[in-house]
Amino acid sequence: MTRPGRPSRALAALIGTDPCAAVLRVLQEADAAITATDIKRALQAAGGPPMDKRSWGRLQKRLRVDDHIVVEPGHRYRWVAAPVTPPPADAFEQIARAVSSRVKRAHLEAVRRALGDAPDDVETTARQRQAVLDGVRALAELASEVEELAANQASSRALIHRVRSRVKSSGLEPIERAGDAATFDRRRHEPIGPPIADGAPVIVVRPGYAWRTPREDVLVARAAVQE
């Protein structure tokens, strides 16, 4: 920052004509986050008059909305070369705080929800990628588990139990069990070959799966059956 005793001439000239530009110059030269006291000292060292509370209050308002100024914890001000562009959700929260007493809460909530659902920011993209990765990881873990069980000469009972337990962790619930006898139910069964009448005896070829979440149940696959 501008050191006492060595005031910048440009700064001295600015103080009288444009105090806000002078403060910005102080912050730019400081190259660090500094407090209001530091700023006032620097201005005085450059030949400016002591700043009263009212003048500082006016300047403070302008500083807070300047694109090149960020206010850090502890009421410290920092000049940044590239204007900080916050994520849309953060920008909205700042606007919401400024106008909250003049806008209906429901309106703010509507925009907040819309921003939360907005698919085009980096964070959402990262989260979407993560969701895909979670699925891929679950599949890879299942594959490696099956191979390990085969190498350990696991019984079919152990193998089926472990597979079902593994997919249960992801919210998947089996529909029927391979090899079991059942009566045909079109909502749960997928016939292999010609259509089957409801209630007809069938053999389960492959189990199906349903994905259960607190919000919804999704039929992932019906059990494959044959008459």
């Binding site: 986050a33 920092r78 940044v80 964070e123 990765l133 152990a158 472990r162």
Partner: protein
């Protein structure tokens, strides 16, 4: 004592994993893996460069530092690493800097810039004292993260906030919440009070940590499996490579622990190459609960102690009475028990808490994914006021000789009352420093000064005047300064005795 209400980024520097979150949820920071978190690993590559996160998994064991956060808890300054150039003691904080810097970089890549102008809320164990907090803070600042003491949040408070943020209705009365946060390495317990309708304030009444959690259960299950192997005729000690078998058993124990969270039984299949022959052990949830029982009993003792500590902020009661209060009475006032940390996926944890607290207390996970609760709560912490009544976030200094001389009368985050004080059952529960301990001059004039680390000015008075700036008649014999857990303050000096209180302390007994 409200912290700044700004959109922020939460950084959960955990013992095993590090997570970054925004108010919208966890921001994936995993690298070259499918996990959303970064392992809290740091080490030295062959060329001597420091590597953090997943890359550290591939450095030789001697060059790797695991659970580095625990080294701060243990107050260790250095850690020994075996580098290609020889054995070297490395500063723990330097390695923490690298880890945090890497997490910050990855957070930015995930859309959460944590550079200048942003606000990062960093979690820390509620049991950490001022020195430990400042160490992490210093490391975070060196890693260019915009953090100050005021934006450090106790981890259990963050878990509580994650839960509060999902509560759609205001209960209309203050809530007492116990956070049971069991991770891989530590169990953190905190007792919180939540009050206020539009803006809720979270007060920490008690917080303590126990260095026994998931790892200990893995050991217990592995020991159980060892017994099972003997029953089927396999003696690990008699195997060609018993160490290899034990490592495998430990891995099977961890997997059984995870799978038994969703299932009643879990078949463990034995590798013929490792155990000499194939075989299966059907391990049940019941067996796991039996293996877990001694550890959970110790955890419940810790819960009881946390509730006793919380009690001292409530009434002016002697430690003798508190130590002898039946546990049934202590659990009565708790409205909610929040489960946080990966271990809380185990049904037995919830079951034990339900048994302990009874049907009038709600026991539930802080979040659907309890391992994310701290990170998400940190990101949302700006919406809540926070005060740590057990380890207050302010220093009280005594200055004289125009500020050239000073003593720290109370250092921020020092517990007001020690666990042993309660266990012993003394009748003088308070934090106290006297003139002799502080090596004060015999006479002279001084002044108290208060430095708040919460981001807000502390409102405290003594004899009707502000505590900050209160004049003191110095005396090495008569000076005594006390803070009581219920917020009362007392100063005795060369001029007399003065009583006051911390105004921000809510009167719990008046609720």
């Amino acid at each position: 004592m409200f912290a700044a209400r700004r959109p922020s980024v939460g950084l959960d520097f955990g013992t095993s994993t590090t997570l970054v979150a925004s108010t919208r949820g966890v921001v994936p920071i995993g690298n070259d893996t499918t996990f959303p978190w970064m392992p809290s690993l740091v080490g030295y590559a062959e060329d001597g460069t420091v590597v953090a996160g997943e890359k550290a998994q591939f450095v030789p064991d001697g060059q790797l530092v695991r659970s580095i956060k625990r080294l701060i808890t243990e107050q260790r300054e250095f850690v020994r690493v075996d580098l290609p150039t020889g054995v070297k003691d490395v500063r723990v904080d330097d390695l923490v800097v690298e880890l945090l810097r890497e997490a910050g970089r990855r957070g930015a890549r995930g859309g959460r810039d944590v550079g200048a102008g942003k606000l990062v809320r960093l979690g820390c164990p509620a049991m950490w004292d001022g020195r430990q907090r400042r160490r992490l803070l210093g490391a975070a600042q060196r890693a260019d993260l915009p953090v100050v003491l005021a934006t450090m949040v106790d981890e259990p408070v963050a878990a509580g906030i994650a839960w509060l943020a999902h509560q759609s209705t205001d209960p209309g009365h203050p809530q007492r919440i116990l956070v049971f946060d069991m991770g891989g390495g530590t169990l953190d317990i905190a007792v919180l009070d939540v009050r206020g309708a539009n803006r809720r304030d979270v007060s920490v009444l008690a917080a303590l940590g126990v260095p026994e959690a998931g790892d200990a259960l893995d050991e217990a299950i592995a020991a159980d499996l060892d017994d099972e192997l003997i029953k089927v005729g396999i003696d690990i000690d008699a195997l060609a490579k018993p160490d290899r078998a034990r490592v495998r058993l430990r891995d099977e124990a961890r997997r059984a622990k995870e799978q038994l969270s969703v299932d009643e039984e879990h078949p463990i299949t034995l590798s013929p190459q490792v155990f000499g022959r194939a075989g299966e052990i059907w391990y049940t949830r019941e067996r796991l609960s039996e293996a877990f029982q001694p550890q959970m009993e110790r955890a419940e003792d810790a819960v009881g102690m946390a509730l006793r500590i919380a009690r001292i902020t409530e009434f002016v009661e002697s430690a003798f009475d508190i130590a002898r209060t039946p546990i049934e009475e202590l659990v009565e006032g708790v409205d909610v028990v929040l489960l946080s940390g990966g271990m809380c996926r185990i049904p037995y944890v919830r079951q034990r808490m339900e048994w302990m607290f009874g049907s009038s207390t709600l026991v539930e996970p802080a979040m659907d994914a309890p391992e994310n609760a701290v990170a998400v709560g940190l990101a949302k912490a700006g919406e809540y006021g926070k005060i740590n009544m057990y380890r207050p976030a302010f220093d009280v200094l005594l200055e004289w000789d125009r500020g050239r001389e000073f003593r720290t009368v109370y250092e921020a985050f020092t517990p007001l009352v020690g666990r042993t004080q309660i266990a012993r059952g003394g009748d003088d529960l308070r934090y106290c420093r006297d003139g002799r301990e502080l090596s004060l001059p015999r006479t002279g004039r001084g002044r108290l000064r208060v430095v708040s680390h919460s981001g807000e000015r502390l409102r405290a008075t003594l004899a009707g005047r502000r505590l900050d700036g209160f004049p003191v008649a110095l005396s090495d014999e008569k000076f005594e300064f006390s803070i009581y857990p219920d917020g009362r303050i007392r100063l005795t000096d060369g001029a007399g005795a003065f009583d006051g209180r911390i105004e921000d302390w809510h009167r719990l007994d008046a609720a």
